[in-house]
Symmetry: C2
Subunit: 482 residues, 2 copies
Amino acid sequence: MSEQTHEKAITPRAEDYSQWYLDIIAAADLAEYAPVKGCMVIKPYGYAIWEQVQKILDAKFKQEGVQNAYFPLLIPERFLKREAQHVEGFAPEVAVVTHAGGEKLEEPLVIRPTSETIMYEVFSGWVHSYRDLPLLINQWANVVRWEMKTKPFLRTTEFLWQEGHTVHVTQEEADAYARKMLAVYEWFSREYMAIPVVTGQKTDNDRFAGALKTYCCEAMMQDGKALQYATSHNLGDNFAKAFNIQFLDDQNTMQYGWQTSWGLSTRSIGGLIMTHSDDKGLVLPPRMTATPIVLVPVFTADNKEEVVTKAKELADMITVQTGYGIRVDDREHVRVGEKFFEWEKKGVPLRIEYGPKDIAAGHCVTVRRDTGEKTIITIDDNFPSAIKAVLENIQSHLYEAAEQRLVANTVEANAWEEFVAAIEDGKFVMAHWDGTTETEKKIKEEIGATIRCIPFNQKREEGQCIKTGNPSDGRVLFAKAY
Amino acid sequence: MSEQTHEKAITPRAEDYSQWYLDIIAAADLAEYAPVKGCMVIKPYGYAIWEQVQKILDAKFKQEGVQNAYFPLLIPERFLKREAQHVEGFAPEVAVVTHAGGEKLEEPLVIRPTSETIMYEVFSGWVHSYRDLPLLINQWANVVRWEMKTKPFLRTTEFLWQEGHTVHVTQEEADAYARKMLAVYEWFSREYMAIPVVTGQKTDNDRFAGALKTYCCEAMMQDGKALQYATSHNLGDNFAKAFNIQFLDDQNTMQYGWQTSWGLSTRSIGGLIMTHSDDKGLVLPPRMTATPIVLVPVFTADNKEEVVTKAKELADMITVQTGYGIRVDDREHVRVGEKFFEWEKKGVPLRIEYGPKDIAAGHCVTVRRDTGEKTIITIDDNFPSAIKAVLENIQSHLYEAAEQRLVANTVEANAWEEFVAAIEDGKFVMAHWDGTTETEKKIKEEIGATIRCIPFNQKREEGQCIKTGNPSDGRVLFAKAY
């Protein structure tokens, strides 16, 4: 695979953003369409990003006391039907197993589109007393939702995710926990993915099927469109009542449990790609790759052994002293220029060039992927900390660029024409809304913008709905979205 | 969950081995039957063992140059049919999706029972030149095989596994690679799971559907039955021809690729349970748990704070200096005796008891799960290395006990009555066989024993088949099996 050259040029963003996205995925060898409708194959270089997501979030969840478990892929159809809103939301998009082992099944089984129903049926046997709570469970799994319009990472029939599911003693505790896990996603997005997000609550129209409240992180892509990055739901006692999750409280009274669920999927990789990449290819934040540095030794047939030996020594020194992973690209049959080009397309944050002249001079050449800046760094006692500083600078520079874009492209609108113009200009628009689903749908039909969320972080002020002029008790975030 | 007490006594092995196995799983809170036929829920304490399996094997695979990727769950039925033996082997046990998104599918999709077909269809687009080889891909995934008789971990309709799939330039290289990965499984089994295995080749009758040769690890359970622990297949060019995996060799000639596949599943956890556990509960080798030590502070309401603080200091000291994970069980509403009982059932290798008298005396009490041996250890500079030595001793002691059992219960048989008696006595029996599937099947029908493998590690000697008296060119391993 490493030998496959992607001759196809990357379409510039300005020309065709959607094609650019697909070209980046091909050029960086992240994924390809599978020979199964709506599915993708996540290739090794793309899967490594998902492994990084898993590593970071899994450690964080464990630190928060969440335990991993595994529940069946197949769910009896009748479970899905127990919570009325839930089945209404998911029934139209499930894949159904009707035959197995050569026979027709007595009851069809659906492939999990999400696992509330199968998990909560089981939870009802786990929860007996307030002492069993909170129950904090997470699952890393594949899910299937029959989507009509698919796009790699952003929307695929099968996708990978983690789904957390908890049970609490009180509604307040459950709500606080749903908010807490949203804060974990926000932390992950900002600190690791280098993606600023707007956090808030979804409107009733856009709530998770069966939830009381849905909280979300919304990120702005380079075309100004919003991407829902992760969601966390306060499920109230809706599912507890449907699946009979009850416990004896400390007063010896039987109570229904209060629940949350929260998930982040391979969709986040789509957001990562679209936030940082440029017309030359993928751009990865240093914290989202296990090998943020590629060292390219520059050698001829005559001096290969010596140069590669020195390069490996340098690589070891960097890894031991900074903890950053590093790849030494000593392939013989690929020219140095092609290597530079390949790693640029693949978004490796920092390239180090190292040849006989550099060795003689006691320095190396570094090239940043984000700015293209070329620097000669002396290899002395300060060298590892200099490399570390560059990588940290790349990480924060990517975040700042995304943050500036978000700030610069978020506007308030107070009149309909102004609102429409801003939406068509690809902005995030804060505007007043009368709180009705009717108005929300009308706006979507007319200009294709949806309410992304009611942001947490805003001064609530009264006003008049941008569409109807009816009273509004605060602004909401409108945008076109993926 | 932690509060759920498993009042049910564990059935002794001598009384009912099969019930003992189920009782251990319940008592240690590893898994439970799911409300879906043939499926199980892997509970947090059981899933933590699988995470340990993943962590160890994944690091080893990566060290060997294998890359992880992810392929679709759903496979078009026609792919399965491309390799004649493969479809014959798997078609009877697949689950079939016939409807999705509210409509009947044009072509049914099967849930992967294994991924050769979907992966190799994609590989044919990845492999072009000998420079693309070897292609070394692994996937951590769930698979579904419609089994009639199921048992937690050992045989479930859905199970978790890793499946490695490789493509090589020559048949010799592919065969060597299949053997190499079998050696990785053997290493993992011996060094981590503390399970000795017999490695060898399967007979033609027992080969993987579509393979040229299947290599395996067979372990002996405490009832003398064999458990196939992991397999590795030399697939020859069977699939390469069916899926058109071709490459230009270094002479510029088009060649078919030579392939391997190899897998280890959650079944291995069944083997782990059955190898080491006793009538008191689960026994875990220290290397198979992230927290091989539980520290139980012994306190009253009056001195809790002081004792727990000291206990946590001791725990931190052990973790920092030995690297072993440790759990401090400071729950208030559970009595100390119940805690001892709980962690014994859950197989934690080493328990440390630590109360005010111990603190005053500058020592602690340790209790080994494997032998029950109670020791007072002084807390001084040598303390961490003493703890480390005990854990290493538990690891090797468990291995040696299993090894002794394997050696003591492996016999040679040269006459039919002797053979039958040994099989009925639960032995691994090395006996001559005439090499025909007919004889193999006849023996299975008559006494329920199967050929587990043709062991690698034996002096090949000519003889007469134990059943037919026909010539044999070497002994094979017979046993009853899971």
